[in-house]
Symmetry: C2
Subunit: 203 residues, 2 copies
């Protein structure tokens, strides 16, 4: 059984990654075992200083490969708000200044968009996913999910900016979608599915 490492310490993101791969029958069934960072010895992780999602995803996967010798998948994702010129972008998880404070980040985006009218509240969730193999071959893909930002959070599923993001064609926020509905449409779902051919080559 080949192994591939999912290089994320974000429990909710890791849950989504595992769920998406499992839905494709890629955990165990196809001769590929998906392991998490909890299953390998701790290693130092570089801060995310890249200017793009792709740079950060590749850097995280490279660090994991260097430390474990396993092929590694990493993602970097965030919200690109039109009225903020595509920001918070790579700073999505630390937009309010501290890393991982979802509520503060979401509140800040809402406050910054207070005077932004409905027709300019477009946004996209973006996910870059990278597979790096021992030996150095790298595959990077991108998934995007367009939508608009509402003014009051709704829903409790998902994480991050999900409660203020209404995907195109939807009336519910992505925090009001069932997990499998989110996965079928989301930036992360799209990116990981784009990575499947490369993952299947590992078997």
């Amino acid at each position: 059984m080949s192994r591939v490492l999912l290089a994320s310490r974000n429990a909710k993101k890791l849950g989504e990654l595992r769920r998406i791969l499992a839905a494709e029958g890629l955990d165990g069934a196809e001769g590929l075992e998906v392991v998490g960072l909890d299953d390998v010895p701790e290693f130092p992780e570089a801060p995310e200083t890249g200017a793009t999602f792709e740079e950060n995803a590749v850097a995280k996967a490279r660090d994991a490969v260097a430390a474990t010798g396993l092929p590694a998948v990493a993602d970097d994702s965030g919200l690109a708000v039109d009225a903020l010129n595509g920001m918070p972008g790579v700073l999505s998880a630390r937009w309010a200044g501290r890393h991982g404070d979802d509520q503060a980040n979401l509140d800040l985006v809402l406050a910054q968009l207070t005077d932004t009218p409905e027709e300019r509240r477009g946004a996209a969730f973006v996910c870059a996913a990278a597979l790096v193999r021992p030996g150095g071959r790298e595959t990077v893909v991108r998934g995007e999910w367009r939508g608009a930002l509402i003014r009051k959070p709704r829903g409790t599923n998902g994480f991050g900016y999900d409660p203020i993001f209404v995907p195109e064609g939807e009336t519910r926020t992505s925090a009001e979608l069932a997990p499998e509905e989110k996965d079928a449409a989301s930036h992360r779902g799209r990116a990981l599915r784009a990575l499947l051919p490369a993952l299947r080559e590992l078997v």
Copy 2:
């Protein structure tokens, strides 16, 4: 004596605008009297919802002309940070969510750039200045001032993001420059001087 209205309620910005015009001999000496909003009856001002500095400057000047019948100059300005895709931009005065809290805005930009290395800390102060005449003729110009953002505020002159902005060719922040040094180089000085030919036509 012709009159021109400086349409700003920001006392520090108004001081700079008056100082720059006075340095060009344009207040009184050339047959042009510069009046402030305190010298005219109060009128309702639309919120700054434009996507660009130019839109906001023109909108403010138009409102002032409509309310007073005087030719009016307005500016909209802000800090465009490279690593934030040009933001805070038009949201510079309300970046942390409340309008006009200079300290909170500056602290937030510094926090957002914590992991941004020196070579990616470029920024520009940008100022759009508009002259709108009764009858509707409009002139809009732009001034830019390139520099880089440091990690700890220095200096007490100026306002807004001045304490973290080191202009190109300088070692001091723009809050450490003497007022006349700032005016000679600044985005606002450049924009207003670009507006002088149009202002002189008013006489």
